[in-house]
Symmetry: C2
Subunit: 207 residues, 2 copies
């Protein structure tokens, strides 16, 4: 009867250590750039020697992979808040929080939105996280009447493009951040002009 432990303390500790390593990896990447991540610098910061990290991650790419998935989960969470609002109002909120999220951490921006690590491709499960985030936003677009399939892709290009300019030309600054509202206006004026059907699609609660 005593043989039924509710929690697996050992596994919990293992997961906690993984999380700590991951957090430290983000710190390192913030300081040295995405490509600057290396196990030699990482290990001492979590009180280990480099080989011990292999107890938690099978390779350096596995760390990038975990960062990729975590980054997209953070992104999804941030966007989800804005998606509570609807219409042009919600769109503007989404653009703002997305921009803030991207500009906040250039290394994360590069990992999530560009292919910049040589030889790295996200694993299937990690990639699925990013796909789910995209589908979530696509559903919001549908619900809110931005029904053209290209609309979402244009919108994403616009915001990711603005963030890229901010990061490349003036990291830490805010000139391009200040253009977000104008960009959203531009997008809205286009949607209204074309047959983008500004009217929200019918709520789908049943068949």
């Amino acid at each position: 009867m005593v043989e039924v432990p509710i929690r697996d303390r050992k596994a919990e500790r293992h997961e906690a250590t993984k999380a700590e390593i991951l957090g430290t990896a983000w710190d390192l990447v913030r300081e040295q750039g995405l490509g600057g991540l290396n196990l030699r610098d990482l290990a001492p910061r979590v009180g280990m020697r480099a080989p011990s990290l292999y107890e938690y991650f099978a390779s350096k790419h596995a760390i990038y992979d975990a960062m990729f998935a975590q980054g997209y989960r953070q992104f999804a969470a941030v966007i989800a808040e804005a998606e509570a609002r609807s219409g042009a109002d919600g769109l503007r909120a989404m653009a703002r929080v997305a921009m803030a999220f991207m500009v906040e951490q250039p290394a994360r921006y590069q990992l999530l939105f560009h292919r910049t690590i040589p030889g790295f491709t996200p694993s299937e499960p990690s990639y699925a996280v990013s796909v789910r985030q995209l589908e979530q936003t696509r559903a919001w677009f549908d619900r809110n009447g931005f029904t053209s399939p290209a609309a979402l892709d244009l919108f994403i290009s616009l915001i990711v493009g603005l963030a890229g300019q901010q990061i490349a030309n003036d990291p830490g600054g805010d000139y391009w951040v200040g253009l977000v509202d104008a960009a959203v206006d531009m997008f809205l004026s286009y949607v209204k002009a074309t047959g983008g059907t500004t009217r929200p699609a019918r709520e789908r609660t049943g068949p």
Copy 2:
């Protein structure tokens, strides 16, 4: 009297070799990614051993620097052709050739439009090349009535953003390339709607 050579054949040969090295560096970067450039692979392709490259470039970063300047000169040349046209027509041509230029070589795209090489910043003269290109396009925007200062920045973000999506999500494909015209329409509708003064500025041939 015989001591007045018109041409410096030695210097010419030196420059030719530099150019050949540079061209081969582009080849390598096309194959292995921007970060994959290394002297060991580069040297044999130009019939040398690695140390000999230092006769032509002081460091690996110096090669990146030369590539940066050359890339922007190519970009300026490509854009200049489109700038021969004016108004919406010219704008559409610019967007198309810019997009084609960016998508054609992802590594070049990353070098010119993002900060992706750890520790690399273009030298002052190389940076000046990029500034001149930007000023050239800014002047075209002014001449053609796109007078809002933010207009150019929005336009650039839009096109660079589209190219980035194409490269990151489907390198070699053309889905986002196909969105260029829609993007230009969007931009134009916005400029017309706001006080972007669609009328071309007065031609300035004199004071």
